[in-house]
Amino acid sequence: MSKRIDVSDLNVYYGDFLAVEGVTMAVEARSVTAFIGPSGCGKSTFIRTLNRLHEVVPGTRVEGKVLLDGQDLYGPAVDPVVVRRQIGMVFQRPNPFPTMSLRDNVLAGIKLNNSRMRKSEADDVVERSLRGANLWNEAKDRLDTPGSGLSGGQQQRLCIARAIAVEPDVLLMDEPCSALDPISTLAIEDLIAELKENYTIVIVTHNMQQAARVSDRTAFFNIAGTGQPGKLIEMDDTTKIFTNPGEKATEDYVSGRFG
């Protein structure tokens, strides 16, 4: 189920503007990789290239290679829609479909893949996904109510349930806790620790404590100045990044001297 990602020499553009330059990194399977760095350094832009969501904004493009277990996601014959079915994503703000019930939200991805599914099968998927997202106990009695009736933290777990319902190879999380209160954040972090057993997880976070708590490997991105492209400064085991980083900029950032 979980696969590794190898990125080499990736440049990301918005029109003519080079937003992220020359990223090369390896993301291990069944682990949590955190991206940290100051605002505007291209973390979110970069994570969106891993499921080819970057290119839905008109005028954007990507150069370089992203290999998912050796298969190039940017190969000429690759359909971005298929890529996105293999790589799930959770966004900064919880975004369950407001016009769908909890149940339909969880099943949304499945219905795209194969339209026909027996009700009992669908019930199983809903329960398994909601249990996987630690939401089953809170949601089981209100599966037919709209997703927008949940609290922010519950909505975010619903989005995680929706993403894992299709059993993706990789789960990308773009600041999944930045709109949540500390208790909901804790719930999501616990969930990430459980999900790592089965999924490759990449998480963008502004919260360095969070990166230190949940991740195995950490990548530090930085930007030289406004208008300059973001770059990957260094990537290493999380403990090393936070205790004994190789670069001065990383040390300044994790010790709170800037950013």
Binding site: N95, P98, N113
Partner: protein, 317 residues
């Protein structure tokens, strides 16, 4: 909702009251006056219609146009009004939906702006011009189509022959109305589709939805209440449209056939007959106007009910 400015328990001695600023007070009064004015106008129109219509309801049936009383007179007109508007909606709604989606989600940005502008321009054409276009160009050109319908689908009463030789039929009037209401529905649908949160569209895309699947999952459900409002506004215009129908349609008595001449709508009937009416005839026409007023009101209430029914799922919260 009313809020009390008085504290629940008054502190002893001096009662304290929030200072009312003149700007706030004036603005509040101005908006209230505007709101009340609308109600007064509406009530005034309704009162006028009812007062002038009553003689037609009470009159001796023999005095009413047709000689069989008001309801025998008005029901073919109601039928004509509803059918013409219905034909217009059937044609215009899918077309408007397609144009709006093309502008909001498919067309390149520069083309979308131009196209949106052209559609808005359609709304600026006066209805009398649509009427001229309907008589001079559309009716002769669609005549063959109606003849074909009468020849091949004539067993359906709606297409029973013989087809009109001039082409000035209910179907033609419906097509003209469709073109007239197209810009309203398109403009509203386009605006609501453009307002679909990027967040929800990306949620669908990230699940591996194609563009069409994303539109079905995120854009259409989100835009549904707005789309219904747009359709109802279009329907309101189609029900009340006078000039174009009066010009295009070759009016006559009731017939099921939509491809031969005959039938009429309430608004066109009033416009055509009012200048030469007197006495009870005038009251009859005003009573027909009252019926139109009630139909339009009912359509709007129906639309609100449809929109409100699934409010929890609307995405507004």
């Amino acid at each position: 909702m009313t809020t009390s400015t008085e504290p629940a328990t008054k502190p002893p001695g001096r009662p304290r009251r929030a200072k009312v600023r003149p700007g706030d007070r004036n603005f509040s009064w101005a908006t209230r006056a505007a709101g009340v004015l609308i109600l007064i106008v509406l009530a005034g129109v309704a009162a006028f219609l009812v007062r002038e219509a009553i003689p037609a309801f009470r009159a001796d049936p023999a005095e009413i146009d047709g000689g069989e009383g008001f309801f025998a007179y008005v029901w073919p007109l109601v039928f004509g009004t509803l059918v013409a508007a219905f034909i217009a909606l059937i044609i215009a709604t899918p077309l408007a939906l397609g144009i709006a989606l093309f502008i909001s989600h498919y067309a390149p940005r520069r083309m979308a702006q131009g196209l949106g502008y052209v559609v808005d321009l359609l709304a600026a054409i006066p209805s009398v011009v649509y009427g001229l276009w309907g008589i001079q160009w559309l009716a002769p050109n669609v005549r063959g189509t109606w003849e074909w319908l009468a020849d091949n689908l004539g067993f359906i009463p709606l297409f029973a022959g013989p087809a009109s030789a001039t082409g000035r039929t209910m179907m033609t009037a419906g097509v003209v109305l469709a073109v007239m209401i197209l810009p309203i529905i398109t403009a509203i649908a386009r605006e609501v589709f453009l307002q679909t949160p990027t967040l929800h569209q990306e949620a669908a895309l990230a699940l591996g939805a194609t563009r069409w699947e994303m539109i079905r999952m995120a854009v259409l459900p989100f835009g549904r209440p707005g789309l219904i409002s747009g359709v109802m506004l279009g329907l309101g215009r189609a029900l009340g449209e006078t000039m174009a129908v009066a010009m295009v349609l070759s009016t006559g008595g009731f017939t099921w056939s939509m491809v031969s001449s005959g039938n009429n709508t309430i608004a066109a009937e009033i416009a055509l007959d009012f200048p030469e009416s007197a006495g009870i005839e005038t009251n009859t026409l005003i009573a027909a106007g009252l019926v139109l007023f009630v139909i339009t009101l009912a359509v709007n209430m129906l639309a609100r009910w449809i929109v409100a029914r699934r409010e929890a799922f609307s995405g507004a919260n």
